[in-house]
């Protein structure tokens, strides 16, 4: 074992020294091996304390000890979840350990369950030991700094108790959540959310205020520190791109007991902190509904204005009924949070891989006109059968397409169902039902085990279909053979056709029923087909129209399409109109989106909208944005705004085609940015630079 450098100030990243797992044989069950490895990691992890720390816990080891045997290396690590922080808050790790011990009393337990439960006990002990080491370290440091840093002494006291025992005040609660969260990341789980922070911390806040334990200002400072600390290592936490951490804080929404608005002082406090710090992380997801107070809408816009890309708005009015109709219990549905991106997730009760695979809808379309083969290289991507020349009507084509969509779904599901997962006694301890069932989260111990499917190219597909309908079936503008040839040639010999498809054919997102009805029919079909499939843990599949990074990664693999998209051009983002195709304003976009039955495709069918900072310059426009959002959030599942910065505006000036839908507010009206004369574009760019600062 390599010597760990002791350093108070720098988090040590020990990437170069994997800890060889040596002293247990592979005959031990995987649960026990995992628990031992966890203990090993924590016992070698140096408690890092900085002078100004108000919260304890810093990940200093980035290589988890090896514990898997050769045969287990294909197991997938679980992540993209939100644990039940409330369990730690109310029971502490001692309480959880006690639960596991009681569960072990069951005489009929399988040996697997016994091992699993013992591993939970071990993990709890390791955590408690580790926080005690933090406590000692803090004490040592506080002595070193003496009176100049009294907070370290207080924190040392807290760490002696927390997270072993239940939290009794706000400070303890925050430490408990922070420490637990850090442990999860340290066990190499990614994309870990913070859950409904303004809800589970609320009783502590209220109690502290009532009893004078802590003032609102003090709690503000602590929370601000919490925010900073979550952001401290966001690069290390990032998944695909820097910032892609899944550290979402969910605020607002409805509360369980009476179904009323749940926002409280903490909601506003956290928004204020986010506004003040302007960090990449944590990101805020604001749950809204018909009872969301005016003040909260306004405050959320003040944060949105900063151009950080959050808050993201999630609609309780759409999501809760969707979850219920899929089979989630009412009290769980009302408590939803989101996975790494935005797919609804029940915190602390679920092992739901909400973006476990995706369907490339343009591939489905290619397959349906080309005998299951790619138009790019004729490789087999779908199921054989189905030629455009045999489709005598548009309805025939849709029929072909549906059978391909069915095939793509079942193929993806089959792949996913072969996945097996690494157990996690830690995550199981923080997920309801696992201990009671004696079953690890990776084996189906959680209450909910539904997986989610994402999309790429759904809107491209819809736009392509309407083009085929017009050009081939209605106006006879092009023969089927020529059309396929153009797509295969990437429009090489017919740029006019490409341009015509792009500019002259109606597009999704403009409130045109003929187009939108294609979208809703196929979204319905897709959602239904997903829901028919079940996974290896007894859960089902949920369809969604979010795309995460799929719209970029799939671009190169997807042939030119009838929406005038050439090979390699990115696909449509999430469930949004294609770039540059919005012509009838934001209300028309939302109307198009709202024609979809979200109950069928609620796995994060988010709409992306771009707004210029100029919308935020005057109170009257802000008011109108609130009016718009209130209606839009009854009609859409989720919306995220890109409040564009000057860089984007410059880009829009140089690449107008990609930004045809970018609306800016100019003198007395709003306009499409790309339509403005250059001097006005420059003016807006200048102004946005001013706005953002």
């Amino acid at each position: 074992m390599s010597e760990i450098k002791k350093n108070d100030d720098i988090a040590i990243v020990l990437k170069q020294h994997p800890f060889m797992y040596s002293n247990t044989s592979s005959k031990k069950s995987i649960y026990l091996r995992k628990a031992i490895a966890f203990e090993k990691m924590l016992s070698t992890m140096y408690p890092s304390v900085k002078k100004d720390d108000l919260l304890a816990g810093r990940r200093t080891i980035y290589n988890f000890p090896i514990y898997l045997t050769i045969n287990e290396y294909d197991l997938a690590n679980i992540g993209n979840l939100t644990p039940n922080y409330n369990t730690v808050l109310t029971k502490g790790f001692k309480g959880i350990k006690q639960d596991a011990i009681s569960a072990m009393n069951d005489k009929n337990l399988s040996s697997d369950s016994k091992d699993f439960l013992s591993s939970v006990v071990m993990v709890c002990e390791s955590v408690i030991k580790f926080s005690n080491r933090y406590s000692e370290k803090l004490l040592e440091m506080s002595e070193k700094y003496g009176d100049s840093q009294p907070s370290l002494r207080q924190l040392a006291q807290i760490c002696k108790k927390i997270p072993a025992e239940p939290a009794t005040n706000f400070y303890q609660a925050l430490q408990s959540v922070f420490f637990t969260n850090m442990l999860i990341w340290s066990e190499e789980h990614h994309l870990i959310g913070l859950g409904r922070l303004d809800q589970y911390l609320w009783p502590y806040y209220q109690n502290d205020i009532a009893k004078g334990i802590c003032t609102a200002d003090e709690m503000y400072e602590l929370s601000k520190h919490f925010w900073k600390r979550l952001n401290e290592d966001f690069r290390e936490k990032s998944n695909v791109l820097a910032g892609d951490t899944g550290q979402a804080v969910i605020l607002g929404g409805l509360e369980k007991s009476r179904g009323e608005d749940a926002s409280n002082e903490l909601t506003y406090m956290f928004l204020k902190i986010a506004k003040e710090l302007k960090q990449v992380d944590p990101k805020i997801v604001l749950r809204v509904h018909s009872k969301t107070p005016e003040k909260l809408w306004k405050e959320s816009l003040a944060l949105l204005k900063l151009g950080l890309g959050y808050p993201l708005y999630a609609s309780d009015d759409v999501i809760i009924p969707s979850l219920k109709s899929f089979g989630y219990d009412s009290e769980d549905a009302i408590d939803y949070v989101v996975s790494a991106c935005w797919e609804p997730l029940i915190p602390g009760k679920s092992f739901e891989l909400n973006n476990v695979c995706r369907i490339n809808f343009l591939h489905c379309l290619e397959s349906s006109v080309n005998d299951g083969k790619s138009l790019l290289d004729n490789s087999q991507i779908g199921v054989s059968g189905g030629f455009l020349k045999e489709c005598n009507s548009f309805e025939d084509l849709i029929k072909n397409l549906k059978s391909q969509i069915h095939f793509f779904i079942s193929q993806s599901v089959e792949r996913v169902n072969n996945l097996r997962f690494v157990p996690s006694p830690l995550f199981s301890a923080l997920t309801a039902n696992c201990i009671e069932k004696g079953l690890d989260i990776s084996k189906g111990g959680a209450k909910y085990n539904n997986f989610g499917i994402l999309n790429s190219g759904f809107v491209n597909m819809v736009n392509s279909l309407i083009a085929i309908k017009k050009l081939v079936y209605e106006n006879n503008q092009i023969s089927k053979i020529d059309l396929l040839k153009c797509l295969k040639d990437d429009f090489e010999n017919n740029m006019q056709l490409c341009s015509y498809m792009k500019n002259r054919i109606p597009k999704f997102g403009n409130d045109i029923d003929e187009v939108d009805s294609i979208a809703s029919e196929l979204a319905d079909f897709y959602g239904q087909e997903c829901a028919k499939e079940s996974n290896s843990l007894g859960g089902r599949y949920k369809g969604g129209l979010g795309s995460a990074d799929g719209y970029v990664t799939d671009a190169k693999k997807t042939a030119a399409s009838c929406d005038g998209r050439k090979l390699g051009e990115i696909l449509t983002v999430n469930f949004s109109p294609a770039a540059g195709t919005v012509q009838n304003g934001l209300t028309a976009v939302v109307n198009s989106i709202s024609k979809i039955n979200f109950r069928k495709v609620f796995n994060g069918s988010i709409l992306d909208l771009k707004l210029s900072p100029s919308f935020f310059t005057e109170e009257k426009y802000l008011d109108k944005l609130v009016l718009f959002l209130k209606v839009a959030m009854r009609k859409c599942e989720e919306i995220q705004f890109n409040v564009v910065n000057s860089q984007t505006l410059k880009d829009a000036k140089n690449n107008p085609d990609q930004y045809r839908d970018l609306i800016v507010r100019v003198w007395g009206f709003s306009a499409y940015f790309v339509d403005l004369p250059e001097e006005y574009q420059n003016h807006i760019i200048e102004r946005s630079e001013h706005d953002i600062q």
Binding site: M495, Q496, L497, S499, Y500, N503, R504, D511, N584, G585, L586, T587, A588, N591, Y621, D623, K624, L627, F628, V631, R634, K635, P656, R665, V666, W667, G668, F669, S670, A671, L676, P677, E679, Y680, H683
Partner: protein, 304 residues
């Protein structure tokens, strides 16, 4: 055939600057005035017009190839002059792959217009709704009147953006169906007004008085240097403001410094570009704002 019916040249949804809350703005094609600084030149003529956007054109020349007369349709001035011939043909418009060449102005059945307006009814909330603009909406009286009646029937708030140039009788026909007016005043000197924009200012003031005695109204004053912002014109405008019978109804006066956003559209129509206009100077704007404020009006400068 040249259509004698009412043409609409644009419909803007999610309009947030054309009256209270969120609105849908309907732009009528055709205006009896001839303000040389007009920034919606496509709204002046009552006829359909060809419109060619250089920035969209890919110069593929498909349009030239298809033209039965051998014209270059990008010479949009020619098209608008050869109007009948071209309007009966439109081949270039149909073939243009980029949509660079289009025809501005469309007849829309009233039922279809109302259906479109009602698509956004959820967003209108309490006082959002529809704004009829132009061109000059009051120059399209019979259609406008029916449209307003329908809007009221479905409970949509209505606003009219007008230069106030119409007969008193016409105005009285519709005023009951309008919730809110946005009224442009330009030149207040009788001769100037007649000469520059072709309007009888007395008629306009009479209509302004009728409107403000019954309805909420915002007054908009385009501020063009040495033209509308001269001492003399401002004095005359102030005189008009002083004699407004029901000042309460004039909820705001907006000063609109001239901007060049309309210029490119003249080129698109093949019309002569604007003669050069400049916005009023900052100091003059502020001074005018002061003067109007002193009459107890709420004044704002609506800058680009």
């Amino acid at each position: 055939m040249i259509s004698s019916n009412c043409l609409i040249f644009d419909i803007k949804r999610f309009a947030i600057s054309d009256g209270p809350e969120i609105r849908t703005t309907i732009f009528f094609k055709g205006c009896p005035l001839k303000c040389p600084w007009c920034h919606n030149p496509e709204g002046i003529s009552f006829r359909q017009e060809f419109f060619w956007r250089r920035t969209k054109c890919s110069e593929c020349n498909e349009c030239i190839r298809i033209c039965p007369h051998g014209y270059d349709p990008k010479d949009v001035k020619r098209l608008n002059e050869k109007f009948e011939e071209c309007l009966n043909c439109r081949k270039c418009v149909d073939i243009c792959p980029t949509g660079a060449i289009t025809i501005i102005g469309k007849e829309i059945e009233l039922a279809d217009l109302i259906e479109l307006i009602s698509r956004d009814i959820d967003y209108y909330a309490d006082s959002g709704g529809v704004t009829f603009s132009g061109g000059e909406p009051l120059a399209h009286m019979s259609y406008l009147q029916r449209a307003l009646e329908e809007c009221k029937r479905i409970g949509v708030n209505t606003c009219i953006e007008t230069s106030g140039f119409c007969s008193k009788e016409d105005l009285l026909l519709i005023i009951d169906y309008v919730d809110f007016f946005m009224f442009d005043l330009k030149l207040a000197n009788k001769e100037e007004s007649q000469r520059v924009i072709g309007a009888n200012i007395d008629k306009i003031v009479e209509n302004l008085n009728i409107i403000t005695s019954e309805k909420k109204c915002v007054l908009r004053l385009p501020m063009i240097r040495d033209l509308t912002d001269t001492k003399e014109n401002i004095e005359l405008l102030l005189a008009i403001l002083r004699q407004i019978p029901n000042k309460k109804n004039l909820s705001r006066v907006e000063l609109l410094p001239y901007h060049k956003l309309g210029e490119s559209k003249y080129i698109c129509l093949g019309k002569e570009t604007l003669k050069v206009f400049e916005p009023s100077t900052e100091s003059n704007l502020n001074c005018i704002k002061e003067k109007i404020s002193s009459l107890n009006y709420n004044v704002s400068i609506e800058r680009f």
